[in-house]
């Protein structure tokens, strides 16, 4: 066999995972695979298990069944902090900045992400993509506007230069022009740093703007896969997302 091209190697391999809270399983038998450098969307209506899936991938929820591998290495039983150190940067729904810490302290929290890769990780990389944060560096994160908090949440994982970024509804609570801007920023990060991006989203414009492929979730399972054409087709997305 020929040596596999870097772009075709599976980076994140989620196979048949089932996860939930206590005895209630929310996500059932979900499989998905991502190649390095891809931007993939997970779409679906409210309450179908998108956030639960993200939490299972980062390790906040234990798996009842199935396996997760990152770069061919099984991480199914690794705790969340270990997965972060292996290179997964997780931006939770509602951004999850630490309101009592300053912008700079929030950014410093990202320094342990991907620590295994051993690259130097200056805070400047966050300021490079989000110059607004530099002006606000000593301000408490709780006093930032919603848009600035969204920038901080992404900038914070960027500091660790993760190989894989998980974004849970990056558009939530943002006005339309900011959604557009965050989308452009994510595209730039992907193009310039080669960061692989898996994101959960209900905002059709943002999905069309960002995604190269997608998965549709329904009732805790993947109900359809969307190719490049489908994921940029407004009609298709509306069909899957409308109640």
């Amino acid at each position: 066999m020929a040596i596999a091209d870097a772009a075709t190697v599976t980076m994140l391999d989620v196979s048949g995972i089932t996860a939930g809270y206590g005895r209630t399983m929310i996500v059932r038998d979900v499989s998905l695979a991502m190649r390095r450098g891809e931007i993939v969307a997970i779409v679906g209506r409210n309450g179908v298990g998108k956030t639960t899936l993200m939490q299972a991938i980062i390790g906040l929820l234990p798996l009842a069944k199935g396996n997760i591998a990152l770069d061919g290495k099984a991480i199914s039983t690794a705790p969340a902090n270990e997965r972060a150190r292996l290179g997964i940067g997780y931006v939770p729904q509602g951004r999850g900045v630490f309101p009592g810490l300053t912008v700079e302290e929030n950014l410093e929290m990202g320094e342990l992400i991907n620590v295994r890769a051993g690259v130097t990780r200056p805070l400047d990389i966050a300021f490079q993509y989000f110059p607004r944060l530099a002006e606000r560096r000593s301000q408490r994160a709780g006093t930032l506007s919603g848009g600035e908090q969204a920038m901080l949440a992404i900038g914070r994982v960027l500091v660790g230069q993760p190989s894989l970024m998980l974004l849970d509804e990056p558009s939530e609570g943002l006005q339309p022009n900011l959604v557009q801007q965050i989308g452009d920023d994510i595209l730039r990060i992907n193009a310039e740093l080669g960061t692989t991006v898996l994101f959960v989203e209900q905002n059709i414009e943002l999905v069309m703007h960002l995604a190269q492929r997608g998965y549709v979730m329904d009732k805790g399972a993947v109900s359809a896969e969307l190719g490049g054409a489908a994921v940029t087709s407004q009609e298709t997305l509306i069909r899957y997302l409308s109640v």
Partner: protein, 350 residues
């Protein structure tokens, strides 16, 4: 602040003034006051221990009193059995390690078992009360460890810290205690400024979120709990050595709550505030005890209530913040308001 730290802040200035005062004070006063102040310093280590575990890591523990007792008793048991020059110094180490180890074991079961928040308070209070009850019934002659009789409610008589065969007294003892207090204070402040210390601040706000940034949250909780347990035990050791005596009431309910009140009044987020507040309130407590003993606890209760209602960040921290704003003209860097207040900010901003 790890980066761009401003040295000229009210908190640091207050520490320097405090240190200068403490250095000059014994040269200006009598033997009794010197020893009395040494006692305050021994107890103030409890406030530092609590400010670390509660203020920096958000874990409210009533167990510091139990570690205080473990430190004091273990120091006594060791020094009563092992005689000779230097034994009391090893005894200090034994007491501190016993406290830290007990805290590490308890912390391991609590934090790895998912016990958090108010339940830590309850568990640690239970430990304190169980230990007190246990020690109180050790009056009989069968309760001896080697040469050391535990003596139940009568308390155990312990040797004093000695150089050679001569127990330390007066100014040398005072400066030893001052050195230990300042050393522990500086160590804790340094630790609070490391990545580990920042992780503690973050996990206090949100544990799972901190974990997703690569921090081993439960391990960090056990580490800070053991550290604070060791500091509390050191406080117990210095107390036992100071008075040559330790008894179960030093682990009682009142003893468990007093340091919490001192730290809450001063401001739990700042080690400096907790230290200064504890020294001042101990002094006040003693004056009240001689002049109006029936009102002492009432007055502290009222002060604590006022702090909770009107200055939740603590009186001393509030003064630091005001000075930072008006004199040093900088945003109060040490200011970390109550999470609920921040959440309200966030909602307004969001």
């Amino acid at each position: 602040m790890r980066r761009g730290a401003a040295l000229l802040r009210a908190e640091n200035v207050a520490f320097v003034v405090f240190l200068a005062f403490m250095l000059v004070y014994p040269l200006t006063t009598d033997e009794f006051s010197i020893l009395n102040t040494a006692y305050f310093m021994a107890i103030t280590l409890m406030a530092l221990s609590l400010a670390m575990i509660w203020g920096k890591a958000g874990i409210l523990s009533f167990g510091q009193t139990a570690f205080f007792g473990i430190g004091g008793y273990l120091y006594g048991i060791y020094t009563l059995n092992v005689l000779g020059a230097g034994a009391t110094w090893v005894g200090i180490l034994v007491g501190v390690l016993a406290g830290a180890l007990t805290a590490a074991v308890l912390g391991y079961f609590m934090f790895y078992g998912g016990v958090n928040d108010v339940f830590v308070g309850l568990t640690t209070l239970a430990l304190t009360l169980v230990l007190q009850t246990f020690m109180a019934q050790t009056a009989g002659p069968e309760w001896t460890v080697g040469e050391a009789r535990l003596n139940g409610y009568n308390g155990m008589y312990t040797p004093q810290i000695s150089v050679g065969d001569i127990p330390l007294f007066g100014r040398p003892l005072y400066f030893l205690y001052l050195g230990i207090l300042v050393g522990v204070y500086l160590l804790l402040r340094w630790l609070a400024g490391t990545r580990w210390g920042y992780g503690l601040l973050a996990l206090q706000e949100n544990r799972p979120r901190t974990e997703t940034f690569g921090y081993n949250v439960r391990l960090m909780q056990v580490q800070v709990f053991a550290l604070a347990g060791g500091v509390a035990a050191l406080s117990g050791v210095l107390y036992a050595s100071w008075g040559s005596y330790i008894d179960p009431s030093s682990m009682g309910l009142t003893a468990a709550i007093t340091p919490v009140i001192y730290v809450a009044i001063g401001g739990r987020r700042s080690l400096t505030a907790a230290m200064i507040s504890s020294m001042v309130l101990l002094k006040l407590s003693q004056s009240l005890a001689s002049e109006a003993p029936q009102y002492a606890l009432v007055i502290f209760g009222v002060l604590a209530l006022l702090a909770v209602l009107f200055v939740p960040e603590g009186f001393v921290v509030a003064i630091f913040n005001a000075l930072d704003r008006w004199i040093f003209r900088r945003p109060s860097a040490g200011e970390r308001v109550a999470p609920s207040e921040v959440a309200a900010d966030a909602r307004r901003a969001g």
